[in-house]
């Protein structure tokens, strides 16, 4: 084999290998790599049963109910398409508010409620003074949607 042919074969096979590698990466990013699901995915039974995973979404406005012991709290997480009821006992983070982003770790029970062992607040990349936020809200811009706007999901 001539050196030039040999080099051509090396280059072609190298490019082919890189092509396969990028196809594999693209394939991987089509699906869920972390145990993180949106309410729509949970509703579509894509989330694992009997195993802890995380759900993310917005706390539905007006859904937060504190039980009498003041530690257990019920709320619903929504991605505006589907909602999942969540039960959590413990201290909520300061930024936990209705209408804000939240990530909850826990298990899905048979009755469709999500029993969270941890609740984390996800905040967005917007920084503004309260007056500006108020003005935006009056103008009808739901700024909190941005918190999950960048998220992928099959929903």
């Amino acid at each position: 084999m001539k050196p030039r042919t040999r080099r051509a074969i090396w280059i072609v096979s190298g490019l082919a290998a890189l092509g396969i590698a990028s196809a594999l990466v693209l394939n991987a990013f089509q699906s869920n790599l972390v145990f993180f699901f949106t309410p729509s995915q949970v509703a579509a039974h894509e989330a694992p049963s009997g195993r802890a995973f995380r759900i993310g979404g917005l706390v539905e406005a007006g859904s937060v109910v504190h039980e009498k012991d003041a530690l257990t709290v019920h709320f619903r997480v929504t991605d505006t398409a589907q909602t999942i009821p969540v039960v959590f006992t413990g201290h909520l983070p300061d930024l936990f508010r209705e209408g804000k982003g939240v990530v909850a770790q826990g298990r899905l029970m048979g009755d469709g409620t999500f029993h969270a062992s941890d609740v984390l607040a996800k905040h967005d990349e917007n920084y503004m003074p309260p007056e500006a936020a108020e003005a935006l809200r009056k103008a009808g811009h739901p700024i909190d949607k941005a918190a999950f706007a960048g998220q992928k999901g099959k929903s």
Binding site: S22, A28, N32, R51, F53
Partner: protein, 230 residues
């Protein structure tokens, strides 16, 4: 005029591969020790964290991966150090063959002597942790894809630390952080399977990493060896 045919990649690969395998065959003790370490550490975990079956099933894939990673790491310091000390590296560097050929051969031999035994043993350890048949298969597949990548990454780091002071600790500092993605996706594949999800994205990423690693890392190891011999 040249009496010696200008070398080929595959010739160099075969030379290094056969020689290293022969050497580890002469000294099966090292492989045995590595396997014993793997089994022993993996058996320590149930004793340490408690033998609750659910918990063991939950941590099984991750623990087996960490143990495999550490066991594969054990044999890394010796990968090039012996050849460096006895002058074989110089001979290989000055041979008319492309250097990446015999470096790849050595890495492949390292995988044969570490990754393959670990992969073959993993199902037995998985049984210890009560993993089901599907998870066990995926775990072995992930190890089969991930351990060559560990050998590749480790080889580049081992070549970098040749002749360094405190080479063993330094190798741990360099290699273990680079092993992190392999561990995440390797253990992730088995975990996805055990919780009823598709392990294919994790396996795809491992495969992609292996392809890119197999192309780039032997070259990096060559540069490192050249630096070491300078």
């Amino acid at each position: 005029m040249s009496a010696v045919a200008a070398g080929s990649f595959s010739g160099a690969f075969r030379w290094a591969f056969a020689r290293d395998l022969r050497l580890s065959w002469r000294h099966p003790g090292e492989t045995m020790l590595m396997v014993a370490f793997f089994v022993l550490v993996a058996s320590l975990f149930p004793l340490g964290v408690g033998a609750e079956p659910q918990l063991l099933q939950r941590i099984g894939p991750g623990v087996i991966w960490v143990c495999a990673l550490l066991a594969a790491f054990l044999s890394l310091p010796a990968l090039f150090a012996g050849d460096y000390a006895d002058g074989t590296l110089e001979q290989m560097l000055l041979s008319p063959h492309p250097m990446s050929g015999w470096v790849s051969g050595k890495i492949a031999a390292h995988w044969m002597a570490s990754g393959i035994p670990l992969t073959l043993l993993s199902p037995f350890l998985a049984l210890q942790y009560g993993l089901d048949a599907g998870t066990l298969t995926i775990l072995a597949c992930a190890l089969a894809l991930g351990t060559p990548l560990l050998s590749l990454l480790g080889a580049a780091c081992a070549a970098l630390t040749l002749g360094a002071r405190g080479a063993g600790m330094l190798l741990a500092l360099l290699a273990l952080p680079l092993f992190v993605p392999v561990l995440i996706f390797g253990a992730g594949a088995a975990e996805a399977q055990s919780s009823g999800l598709s392990p294919s994205p994790h396996l795809s990423l491992l495969g992609a990493g292996l392809i890119v690693g197999a192309m780039a890392l032997p070259a990096a190891a060559c540069v490192a060896i050249r630096i070491a011999l300078d």
